[in-house]
Amino acid sequence: MSPPAILVAILGLVGLWLPLVQFKPNRIAAGDSLTLAAALEAGWPVALGLAAVLILGCLRYWSPRLRIVAAALGIAVLVLSLGAAASQLVGPDNKLARVSPASGFWLMLLAFSLMWADGVTRMRPSLRASWLMLAGALAQVAALLLSGQLADVSVMRELAARQDTFAHEARAHLILAFGSLGLALLAGLPLGIAIYQAPRWRGPVLAVLNVLQTIPSLALFGIMIPILGWIAATLPGAGRLGVSGIGMFPALVALFLYSLLPVVSNTLSGLAGVPATARDAAAGLGMTRAQMMFQILLPLGLPALLAAVRIVLVQNIGLTVIAGLIGGGGFGTFVFQGLNQTAMDLVLLGALPTIALALVSGIVMGLLVDQSRATRGQA
């Protein structure tokens, strides 16, 4: 028996026992909770099948590959069951009724995701295999979403009702998260290089950035409003350049400030971590300071830099949600609308793509870090 698999089985079985969906005749009415077995016409066989996979998964001799395949199948069956349950419960013409995933669904999703992760960890896939698996997982998700099988789940109904705004907010979210990262790299890289060359400045610069980092995110977004509002009102021309107290601009500034510390400190530690012999050799062979920086220090510090980009990207994708509060746009808009109207489906419409985006970005960046290490044998 393998301990992680036992945990997965317990989580999954509890999930099977808990309600799969919550059914409400309309948005405000109190809902009914239904387990997988009860919610589907062919509920019992499906539930027994999932239970069998979870229990058999405890066997030691299951290969990692088998675990990954079982997990992928489990997730597909689970999500399709959700879609089918929704269609059966609401019927084609009922526009008011809503079916949302409930605790059992989330727990089983967690269980099969853990099974997947367990399989991947045991398999120790090569870089190539990792990229392929990521592509496979994305293809699976895309296929499920595009199949139309989920159309009657209420999150998807919210999405269908808001196709245009969703695309717009998705764009805003990407601009905020990646734009603030880009700005942080533009400013943070030179700053990191500068304090590497001038050690006297390291302490003060890092201290200031540390303080910025400790301001709670809501407070920082809040502070931006009066400060930038004042600048927009007083400096002629500032308003025309997009400076304003609310909207996208203050959100971008706040995210940028949060990103500076990880970028600067990782640049510094990346450069400082270059072997002294390589630096000595570069100087001894007659490289100028600039040549040494661009040909030796930066390439060798690259893994640390990419690690910083990863941290910042994942952090910013999450933090961007808060931009929704100050009218900055992004998926946070749905989250806060949903919270105001106590419409959980709307909250999910904002939260799920945010989590997915953060997860995928984190994995992609992690693979890039590994790749940059592998080419020089530091893996």
């Binding site: 050799a281 007659g286 490289m287 100028t288 060798l300 080419t375």
Partner: protein, 308 residues
């Protein structure tokens, strides 16, 4: 010609190099020996200004190196760093190409030079050109480090314990190769080692260092026969001294006409080889390839002469 004038370098309380003056003639090999921490590396790095002197001057062909931009100076001086100092993210070929690229050589000339150097250091070009440094053994990496230092045909080569990672067989080969390369190219070499045998074999001149000072700067024979201080005598190892001295001289001068039995000895063998062969085979005289003999009596007489 390299001239060091009253070079001193302090690190806080420590005086790593203390008032060192010496001259290395063009085309000579000067070897710095001394115990660990005696200031050898620091002295070497003062020459290419990786370390700035607290006081004193370095002159190359009469010109003060302080008057040149450092990176121009360093591109003219080959530097094989202690360890190997290869750039871990660059292939062997790209490592060797470093200085030629800085100097803007055309690509075809650089490629030819890389293959020439790899072959010279017994590294099959096709097999090694595209390897990364982590795919080399310690000894191979050191040889690539030396090849990189030689790439732009510098007039002066600084080498910091270049053969430290080599086993004794390859080491002896590398030493004689270095000698050959140096004779062919007429390069001036300043080499650091803490192996006195290596110093005796390679050096035209040996500088013995202790606690930042050069105690004696002389030919190997002088150092062996007339150590200037007790420290130098201890460093040579008094019991080894006779053999080291014998290994300095070829058998040419004591070869005399005559006949002897047994396997002949090579014409370019050293006195040490001849003595060892006499003792081992129990012979009083050895035939020399191409004619003549070497006798135990002649060896003994020669040693007595050295002792005076």
């Amino acid at each position: 010609m390299i001239e060091l004038r009253n070079l001193t370098r302090h690190y806080g309380e420590v005086t790593a190099v203390n008032d060192v003056s010496l001259t290395v003639q063009t085309g000579q090999i000067a070897v710095l020996v001394g115990t660990s921490g005696s200031g050898k590396t620091t002295l070497l790095r003062l020459i290419n200004r990786l370390v700035q002197p607290s006081s004193g001057q370095v002159l190359i062909d009469g010109a003060d190196t302080a008057s040149l931009p450092v990176h121009h100076l360093r591109r003219r001086i080959g530097y094989a760093i202690q360890g190997d100092g290869l750039f871990p993210h660059r292939t062997v070929a790209r490592n060797i190409a470093t200085v030629p690229r800085l100097l803007g050589w055309p690509k075809s000339r650089i490629d030819a030079r890389i293959d020439e150097l790899l072959a010279l250091f017994q590294l099959e070009p096709a097999a090694f050109r595209d390897r990364m440094p982590h795919q080399l053994s310690g000894g191979q990496a050191q040889r690539v480090g030396v090849a990189r230092a030689l790439a732009a045909k510098p007039d002066l080569l600084l080498m910091d314990e270049p053969f430290g990672a080599l086993d004794s067989v390859i080491r002896a080969k590398a030493q004689s190769d270095l000698r050959d390369i140096q004779r062919q190219l007429g390069t001036t070499i300043i080499l650091v080692t803490h192996d006195i045998q290596e110093a005796v074999q390679l050096g035209d001149r040996i500088a013995v260092m202790d606690r930042g000072r050069v105690l004696q700067y002389d030919s190997p024979a002088q150092i062996l026969t007339q150590p200037a201080t007790p420290f130098v005598r201890d460093l040579i190892g008094p019991t080894e001294r006779a053999f080291r001295l014998l290994s300095l001289t070829g058998i040419g001068p004591i070869t005399m006409p005559g006949e002897a039995h047994g396997t002949p000895i090579a014409r370019d063998a050293t006195l040490r080889d001849a003595l060892a062969e006499c003792l081992w085979s129990g012979r009083d005289a050895l035939p020399v390839q191409g004619g003549g003999i070497v006798t135990l009596d002649a060896l003994r007489a020669n040693a007595a002469q050295d002792r005076q």
